[in-house]
């Protein structure tokens, strides 16, 4: 059994390529109460679908700008690269992300502080 661990409070949705992810999905997840959203794809230049990850990256960067304007911490959304053989790296990214989110505190949308 693999001995690599990461925090148990992350939930996973499978898509074929990070480029399938519409910023709307990320916003929807935040609105539904997720404290953060991690988009993970293949490394730049190593995309299983040629260049889908670049598209995903651009979209997420734009989305983070938009979050700022909405007054929501852009750090709640993260995009990073993990290949199928990089369990350690994935673990590290998730751990760090969870730590960052803990610092930010609960998602104000979930707390019902804001209405969307």
């Amino acid at each position: 059994m693999s001995r690599i661990e990461y925090p148990a409070n992350i939930r996973v949705i499978r898509v074929m390529c990070s480029s399938r992810i519409d910023p709307v999905h990320v916003l929807y997840a935040l609105k539904s109460g997720a404290d953060g959203v991690l988009v993970s794809g293949c490394h730049p230049g190593d995309c299983h679908y040629i260049n889908g990850n670049h598209r995903a990256k651009r979209r997420i960067i734009l989305l983070k700008e938009m979050l700022k304007q909405l007054g929501l911490e852009p750090e709640r959304v993260k995009i990073d690269w993990v290949s199928a053989s990089e369990g350690e790296r994935f673990t590290r990214i998730v751990k760090e992300f969870v730590e960052e989110l803990k610092k930010l505190g609960p998602n104000p949308l979930r707390e019902g502080i804001w209405e969307v």
Partner: protein, 652 residues
């Protein structure tokens, strides 16, 4: 139709159940809306496991199945077949990955892992409800294969394919097939003569009725898709009529123009009209337009006079050949690292610093010195030092291990010692890597033969006034600084991607790894397939390999192509995107986005609309997220399905 869902929670032995309470997850699943049965099963992928699902489909009239088990990468296909055999559309399946995503990473937090498994099952059930049956489309295929590159990989693949009855077009860019193996002297670890084992195969290629050999040619355009590629090949003018040329060489004898011979890595001269080496296949002479006197200055034509068959034809033009093939095997090989990039090692400056490939030519009986390894002044070297990993395992140059350098050095050192046991041989290495059948034994033998292995590599070489080479190296094994003065230094340069890979990559729409080698669809389970269907990789263009590995890889690629084409038709995966022409605004944004050029413009009701060619679509979903009109839907990953999963996961 109302969804009737069956949920199966797999124990995977203790892989899942050792951490997650599978029974509890199954009980929980039973409470979810539309779930008709929910069970936990020891091994769902086993025969009894699959039978349980089949029986339930029949008994409970299930029309959706959710399996909570390992990654869909493992068994999605297995379970699709289970559904199909029970008369259910195979795409009415959803997998919740509770092994890689829950039991493994949270093995110390049993309760949290179980909670997470429940959430994943909840999301899978929510998605399953929205699944729709999808139909595979069948496509007729062309029973022929294009092989790009005629090294040992391309040769092996072509012969295997031809033997299986497929038509093969073997395209080699240089005037002869053979690749690097034709340049080698002996091969490790058995010290077989490289040409003796390769040339019979080259001749088989030339004679096989199913193989069309297009040497001195290049693929310039590839269109179409799996089963139906349309390929344009540029056959470069040799200025020699291949039908008439008998390979006698009278022309080359007469030709006054001498230039460095690429085949001998520039160590010998060839004529402007030449064959690269005597056993070339096809044995047809070629005029190199860059050095031919007539072509450059309009005067000479001595070869025309000399040729007894009137084969020389200066009016010959490049020719385009178009072929249709069902599959493509890329076997474009490698090139060696250019040692000039590390100036401190003196290659190109000090005359007695040579590369491993040059040593192959020097030690070869048909090479420039008739097999004598000589220094620049024509003497037999009394001492030789090999320097390993030149350009390899070095973050400044190539990060990877070239895989064959250690063994190539051992082979060359063996041949030198065998020729004259008194020659001093030093091998300066980072560490010797000799994994492979009979390789470690060979290494031991060389130590016994008195080759000195030094655990360290020098960073700089100096030339003495007598032409000898001096350097210092710290031996980590003895913790001593060693100073050496030798007659000859051999730089074992690494293997890197061939010149042309980026052009090939773009033309074929396949991926490259960051190193520039072709990227396979899966590093373990699909080591020869490209992620674009119908395209396969063979040999060193995929990653550095020795000959045995290259041959095995090439045979694997051939087998995959044979399997693909043997039925005469292929099924098109229905997990593709589709555009609703009623909603599409014809903005063309998706056309530029699609990495597979799968989207085209068409007419719909008198308007311009985008349309997806399903066989080309690989289902990445890029276009779906990009379309400003929300006109594109991704089968199997629809907007509704993804939102339903988010809802299910953020609930509770």
């Amino acid at each position: 139709m109302k969804a009737r869902i069956g949920v199966y929670v797999c124990h995977c032995g203790t892989n899942i159940a050792g951490v997650i309470d599978a029974e509890e997850v199954a009980k929980y699943a039973a409470t979810l809306p539309d779930v008709v049965v929910a069970r936990d099963i020891m091994y769902t992928c086993s025969d009894p496991g699959q039978n349980t699902i089949r029986e339930d489909i029949e008994k409970h009239g299930l029309n959706r199945v959710v399996i909570a088990a390992c990654s869909p990468k493992m068994h999605e296909n297995t379970f699709r077949k289970t559904l199909e055999s029970a008369g259910l559309n195979p795409y009415l399946l959803e997998i919740a990955n509770i092994r890689e995503q829950a039991s493994w990473p949270h093995f110390r937090e049993r309760e949290k892992a179980t909670e997470k498994a429940k959430a994943l099952v909840r999301a899978a059930v929510a998605k399953a409800k929205l699944l729709e049956p999808l139909e595979k489309r069948e496509l007729m295929v062309e029973k022929s294969v294009l092989v790009i590159g005629g090294g040992v990989a391309g040769i092996q693949a072509a012969l295997d394919l031809a033997e299986a009855g497929l038509k093969v077009y073997l395209v080699e860019k240089s005037p002869s097939i053979g690749g690097h193996m034709a340049q080698l002297n002996k091969t490790f670890p058995t010290i077989d003569c490289s040409a003796c084992i390769l040339t019979p195969r080259m001749v088989d290629v030339a004679n096989h009725p199913n193989i069309t050999l297009l040497a001195y040619s290049e693929v310039v355009k590839v269109e179409g898709y799996v089963g139906n590629f349309e390929v344009t090949i540029l056959k470069k003018a040799r200025y020699v009529d291949e039908e008439l040329c008998a390979g006698c060489g009278a022309c080359a004898d007469a030709c006054p123009r001498k230039v460095p011979n690429e085949f001998d890595v520039g160590l010998s001269k060839r004529k402007a009209i030449y064959v690269p080496f005597p056993q070339a296949v096809p044995l047809k002479y070629t005029i190199d337009p860059a050095s031919c006197l007539y072509m450059k200055y309009g005067r000479c034509k001595l070869c025309v006079e000399a040729c007894p068959r009137g084969a020389i034809n200066f009016d010959q033009k490049d020719e385009e050949v178009k072929v249709k093939v069902g599959a493509i095997i890329v076997a474009a090989g490698f090139k060696t690292f250019d040692a000039r990039r590390i100036p401190s090692l003196g290659y190109g400056k000090y005359r007695n610093v040579i590369t491993g490939l040059e040593l192959e030519r020097l030690s070869n009986a048909s090479g420039p010195t008739g097999g004598a390894v000589l220094t620049a002044s024509g003497e037999k070297p009394k001492s030789i030092a090999f320097i390993q990993c030149v350009g390899s395992r070095d973050l400044k140059y190539n990060s990877w291990c070239c895989r064959i350098g250690c063994m190539a050095t051992l082979k060359q050192a063996f041949l030198i010692k065998e020729d004259d046991p008194d020659t001093e041989v030093y091998v300066c290495h980072i560490d010797m890597r000799t994994a492979g059948k009979g390789y470690e034994e060979f290494y031991r033998k060389l130590r016994e033969m008195g080759v000195r292995f030094i655990h360290g590599v020098p960073s700089e070489l100096f030339e003495d006034s007598d032409g000898k080479l001096m350097f210092k190296v710290f031996d980590q094994a003895t913790c001593h600084m060693i100073e050496l003065k030798v007659d000859m230094v051999v730089l074992q340069t690494g293997l890197e991607p061939a010149e042309d890979v980026e052009r090939l990559q773009k033309m074929l729409n396949v991926s490259l790894s960051p190193e520039g080698f072709f990227l396979e669809a899966h590093p373990k389970l699909q080591p020869v397939e490209a992620s674009t269907r119908g395209i396969f990789f063979a040999g060193c263009c995929h990653s550095p390999k020795d000959i045995a590995e290259t041959v095995a890889h090439a045979s694997a690629a051939a087998t995959k192509a044979i399997t693909l084409l043997s039925k005469g038709k292929v099924a098109v995966d229905p997990l593709t995107a589709t555009i609703n022409p009623e909603v599409c605004s014809g903005c063309e944004i998706c056309i530029g986005i699609c990495p597979y050029r799968a989207i085209q413009l068409t007419e719909y009701g008198g308007r311009r609309r985008a349309k997806i060619v399903d066989v080309l679509c690989q289902g990445c979903g890029s276009c779906v997220a990009a379309c400003p009109s929300n006109a594109i839907e991704m089968k199997g990953f629809t907007e509704k399905q993804i939102l339903a999963q988010i809802d299910a996961l953020t609930e509770g």
